[in-house]
Amino acid sequence: MTAQFLFGGAGLVLFALGIWSFLVHEPLLRKLIALNIMGSGVFHLLIATAERGDLPPDPVPHALVLTGIVVAVSATALALALGRRLEEEDPDG
């Protein structure tokens, strides 16, 4: 129980740090990293939920996290491409 809380709680802290960084920082790259940190926080929480002590872990949250990671990668890739396109248009901005 304690391990579960610590692991999941770390996820929540990551999530909050991600929001903070997203709100406070202007550059695209930092916002994207912030979003990915938020995502990691949520994934942490799910993995913590899966923990069952000596029993084999709950596979469902694991699968959800795998799906979530692929989705996050896709979104990050698209955002980076959009960002680079903007930079090409306006190298100073």
Binding site: K31, L35, V60, L64, G68, V71, S74, A75, A79, L86
Partner: protein
């Protein structure tokens, strides 16, 4: 045959075909749009007969497996999506000049449609997250399709905001799974105990979705994204994509978090809605460009839909509540048709004039009578004048406001109505000028006709023949 799976599978296969064979993207895309429309309307027809549908991809069933589910609400939105998307697809086939854009447009367009149908049919909270990401990515990619820096920047912002919303939503889902051990909406609803966990999950999920639905004051990303995209994309973003997020808020509040919907919570949504109505309409009035005007008007229209929350909350289950819910759906549908019609028409104006600055549109308005007419019809529906569907919606909204003693919402509705009249007629006033008389009503049927038909639907069909909607929304089906 599982019509629910087909409503998602058909557009998906069509999208893949259009992506794999770019040289034939347009033909494949149009054929796919037609097939998807048939598949979607089949869902609506079956819901009409049976009241609700459920199917379980994988055959495992909840809670281990996933489920698709359709009731009157989702069937109505699927039907609207089908008709709007089909008309927009036909428009798009005439709108894009040959070149790179058609081949990029069609697969993304069909993926967007897949995600919309998937969202309306999903019965699983995590599956909704994946659907919303598909929706968000396809929408952002489509929004940037023009390639102008303004469009790319707006799409990027839209994508980031969407991701922020999704992550917040997903945290809520994770809490729900931690506390209740299931992701199926019905099972969560059955297991739900009011308390801090459920409350936090509801706030997180609603907050994330409100960001995507551009609910005031989280609407700031919408106007640039919707105003800078190409016309068919703007139409879909404003008419359909925002609606999908709003639909989820409604679904969660009505069916999942029911015991947590207190008067205070409902009033908060109502208050934000009222602010959105006034602020969105005011900004639309001040907008200098036609498409920006249309985009701000979407902010206001989402506000109208939010006004229904406190009224629904205060109305005990029964005929009055069913009427109110139907009025809400009617307003959402009317806005979907009207706004898509308006954006398509605005696209033609922009293409013909080379810009969409309202003050300089006189010649174009005179030159394209059918398009101006579409704007007028869509404007009628946006103001909420008879005989449009939103007139009936507002009538029922205000009746309910009087009956539940919440008369203050009437003030918001009337303010929004008058402001809407002002911004619509600011555009229409440009059509009366000393330019030469147009020779024909219709000049380019393939693009003008879809816009006109969409706008006409919002006025004549939804205003005068909306009664089947009530039957569709009946719990047991119409037949």
């Amino acid at each position: 045959m599982d019509s629910l799976a087909l409503a998602i599978g058909v557009p998906l296969i069509a999208a893949l075909a259009a992506a794999a064979f770019p040289a034939r993207a347009q033909a494949l895309g149009l054929a796919g749009a037609l097939a998807t429309t048939v598949a979607s309307l089949q869902v609506t027809a079956l819901v009409w007969q049976q009241g609700s549908l459920r199917s379980e991809p994988g055959g495992w069933g909840a809670p281990l497996g996933l489920a698709l589910q359709a009731d009157g609400l989702s069937a109505a939105l699927i039907a609207m999506t089908a008709l709007v998307a089909l008309a927009t697809a036909i428009y798009a086939s005439g709108y894009f000049r040959p070149g790179n854009r058609p081949r990029e447009f069609w697969p993304l367009w069909l993926l967007l449609w897949t995600a919309l149908n998937g969202t309306f049919l999903a019965a699983d909270l995590f599956n909704l997250y994946v659907n919303m990401e598909l929706l968000g990515l396809a929408a952002a990619a489509l929004g940037a399709l023009g390639g102008q820096p303004a469009a790319v920047a707006a799409s990027l912002r839209y994508l980031l905001i969407g991701l922020l919303g999704s992550m917040t939503y997903l945290l809520g889902v994770a809490l729900v799974y931690t506390a209740y051990g299931t992701l199926d909406m019905d099972l969560v609803a059955a297991a739900l105990r009011p308390g801090p966990v459920a409350g936090t999950a509801m706030v997180l999920m609603t907050g994330g979705l409100a960001l995507k639905a551009a609910l005031f004051p989280l609407h700031f990303w919408l106007p640039p994204a919707h105003a800078n995209a190409t016309a068919p994309v703007s139409a879909a973003l404003s008419a359909l994509v925002v609606k999908a997020a709003f639909y989820l808020v409604l679904r969660l509040w009505l069916d999942v978090f029911t015991p947590l919907v207190t008067p205070a919570a409902a009033h908060l949504i109502g208050l934000l809605g009222a602010a959105a109505v006034v602020w969105g309409s005011w900004r639309a009035l001040r907008a200098e460009r036609l498409k920006l005007l249309a985009a701000y008007s979407t902010v206001a229209q989402i506000g109208y839909l939010c006004l229904f929350f406190p009224l629904l909350q205060a109305t005990p289950p029964g005929t009055a509540r069913e009427d109110l819910l139907a009025a809400l759906v009617l307003m959402a549908l009317t806005h979907g048709f009207a706004k898509s019609g308006l954006f398509l028409a605005a696209g033609l104006v922009q293409q013909s004039a080379g810009h969409d600055r309202i003050k300089e549109l006189g010649g174009t308005a005179q030159h394209l009578p059918a398009t101006t007419f579409s704007i007028a019809l869509a404007g009628t529906a946006l103001i909420g004048l008879p005989p449009s569907g939103s007139f009936i919606g507002k009538w029922l909204l205000m009746t309910s406001a009087v009956q539940t003693g919440q008369w203050w919402w009437i003030a918001a509705v009337m303010t929004g109505t008058l402001l809407a009249a002002a911004y619509v007629f600011r555009v229409l006033g440009q059509a009366f000028n000393l330019e030469p008389t147009p020779r024909r009503f219709l000049t380019q049927g393939r693009t003008e006709l879809p816009a006109l038909l969409l706008a006409l639907t919002s006025v004549a069909v939804l205003g005068l023949a909306a009664r089947p909607l009530w039957q569709l929304l009946q719990p047991g089906g119409a037949a």
